[in-house]
């Protein structure tokens, strides 16, 4: 009884886990690769949703709306990077500032606090109208998109530019003496990260049939929880493992959440549960070893 109930949550966990996996990949780039604690994510996720929803309502083809969401998400990330590198604002505060300002921007973009997309043509509408179980094409779609982004990220991080970005997070002093402008690397990395997050927001809005200004709340913490779960399985020795950990971790996280909901966890307590999960994961090693946990961060 319990088992079959859990099994029934697998399709939805896959669908959402893959869709939100893009956010986790974005967070890997900032928190893990750049060692930059970027909190823009809570704002750039609904930003992607807002842009795509507004453009679809304006009659723009969904695919262009998605491209626009990616570009604007990239710019939002760059802004956080510029606040930190050029105006020397603490990295956490820079993210909080952008996240806060994006709230107003998202309301401006949408013109109201939410837009429903159930009755209009989205990128996913043709898939949903196929003559099969809705989950099959949708999960296949998110599987392809998320894995593409994962492999693109892996490839990028093994290019000359990608090396420079990884070294910026690892040893800023060293890569600067090798002639890399680490400020530019930070700005670029934050841009790419938030582009992925905005893409995720744009796709999730179409998947769930609405865009809401509050849909980004707690996104960072959920993403971090996903990464921590994934890293418990895959470790974080190589870039490929880290991005794989993000995707698989995101699926497992969604599974835990939907299983929890089925077993009576109130939806309102979700963020509490997620937060506790992250605190335990970060805190237990610290208590055990008596030293700092798993996150090494710059500029905090």
């Amino acid at each position: 009884m319990l088992l079959s109930s859990l099994l029934r949550t697998i399709p939805i966990s896959l669908e959402q886990g893959l869709a939100y996996g893009l956010v986790a990949i974005g967070i890997v780039i900032t928190f893990r690769i750049l060692a930059f604690p970027d909190l823009t994510v809570d704002g750039s996720f609904p930003l992607g949703a807002a842009v795509v929803a507004r453009l679809i309502m304006e009659g723009v083809p969904p695919i262009y709306g998605i491209l626009m969401a990616i570009i604007i998400g990239f710019l939002a990330g760059c802004c956080t990077g510029l606040l930190n590198t050029k105006l020397k604002i603490n990295s956490l505060l820079a993210g909080i500032l952008m996240m806060t300002m994006l709230y107003s921007i998202n309301l401006r973009i949408m013109g109201r606090s939410n837009i429903q997309l159930l009755t209009v043509q989205t990128l996913l509408t043709p898939l949903e109208n196929l003559d099969v179980n809705r989950f099959i094409p949708i999960i296949a779609f998110f599987f392809v998109v998320t894995l593409c982004i994962k492999f693109l990220t892996d490839m990028f991080l093994h290019t000359q530019l990608g090396f420079a970005m990884r070294a910026t997070g690892d040893n800023e002093q060293m890569i600067r003496t090798l002639g890399v402008d680490t400020d530019n690397m930070t700005v670029l990395g934050l841009g790419i990260s938030n582009a992925f997050v905005a893409l995720s927001g744009a796709l999730v809005a179409q998947d769930q049939g609405f865009s809401d200004v509050g849909m980004g709340i707690g996104m960072i913490v959920a993403g971090l929880a996903s990464i921590i779960i994934g890293e418990a399985l895959f470790g974080k020795k190589t870039v490929r493992r880290m991005t794989m950990a993000a995707v698989v971790g995101s699926i497992i996280y969604k599974f835990i959440i939907s299983a929890g909901l089925r077993m009576g966890l109130a939806p309102t307590d979700l963020k509490m549960a997620t937060g506790v999960m992250v605190i335990l994961a970060l805190g237990i090693p610290a208590l055990k070893k008596g030293k700092e946990g798993k996150l090494h961060l710059r500029g905090v």
Partner: protein
């Protein structure tokens, strides 16, 4: 090659902690010189290197490298001229990246980085060749992350990374001070070999008098931001610790230098 003209650097200017770290030093280092700089704590040794490398800028004076004025040039823009190795073995390499990835990054010192693969296949064989020179077996560990290496291995790798791009000026900032004596000697031998083979212009800061005397063709002693003495040529070759003590003993305030 490297010219410092009337360099002055004051820290915490205008406060009660004001400290003149470098007090109007002028130096001319010729191509192919191997200069050792010695001095006690706070003498201004590292500050002098930092001013040369652009970590910060002088309050007065000018810095020239290879005839170009670089006084206010940002650190990453000077990188094509400079290679620098620090005391802490962790600072020269990116620990989460592999040995070959680190070498590949050094290979591109001062060049524009694009979307080509970070490790060029054609270079991998070359990396293996030069790693053999270290005699540490690293040539078989190209894909190991650097965090797995010991301090001495990391410092040796850092030296190799410097030689990949043959900088106009090599700055060594007490680069053996954090190693155990045996490893320090190995790294120093390797340094000597690399500097000689490539005829690198080198400035080495050290705390260790015998080391400053043994290596290089010129020795400069700093004290309170000023050049206390500057010995080169035949005189430097014949120099011994006893000689330094006899001539400058009265001025050698820091006994630790003689160890």
């Amino acid at each position: 090659m490297v010219k410092l003209e009337g360099i002055r650097k004051i820290f915490a200017k205008g406060t009660i902690d004001e400290k003149v770290a470098i007090d109007r030093i002028s130096l001319h280092i010729k191509k192919g010189d191997f200069v050792t700089i010695i001095g006690s704590n706070g003498a201004g040794k590292s500050t002098l290197l930092n001013l040369t490398s652009g970590t910060f800028f002088p309050d007065e004076g000018e810095v020239f490298i290879s005839g170009s004025r670089v006084t206010q040039l940002a650190e990453h823009r000077r990188s094509k001229y400079l290679g620098r190795i620090f005391q802490n073995p962790l600072t020269g390499t990116a620990s989460s990246m592999t040995i070959e990835e680190n070498l590949a990054m050094a290979d591109l010192r001062g060049q524009t980085r694009g979307l080509r693969w970070g490790v060029a296949k054609a270079r991998r064989e070359h990396y293996r060749e030069i790693l053999k020179m270290l005699e540490l077996g690293l040539e078989n560990r190209l894909k190991d992350t650097v965090s797995l290496l010991s301090g001495g291995q990391r410092q040796s790798l850092t030296l190799l990374m410097v030689t990949l791009s043959l900088p106009k000026l090599l700055l060594l900032d007490e680069h053996t001070a954090a190693l155990d004596p045996k490893t320090a000697q190995k790294v120093m031998d390797l340094t000597q070999k690399i500097v000689e083979e490539n005829n690198l212009t080198t400035v080495m800061v050290t705390h260790n008098m015998p080391q400053a005397i043994q290596y290089g063709n010129r020795m400069i002693m700093l004290h309170e931001g000023k050049v206390q003495f500057d010995i080169h040529g035949e005189e430097k070759k014949a120099l011994t610790v006893e000689e330094v003590v006899r001539r400058f003993g009265a001025e050698l305030k820091d006994e630790a230098l003689l160890v």
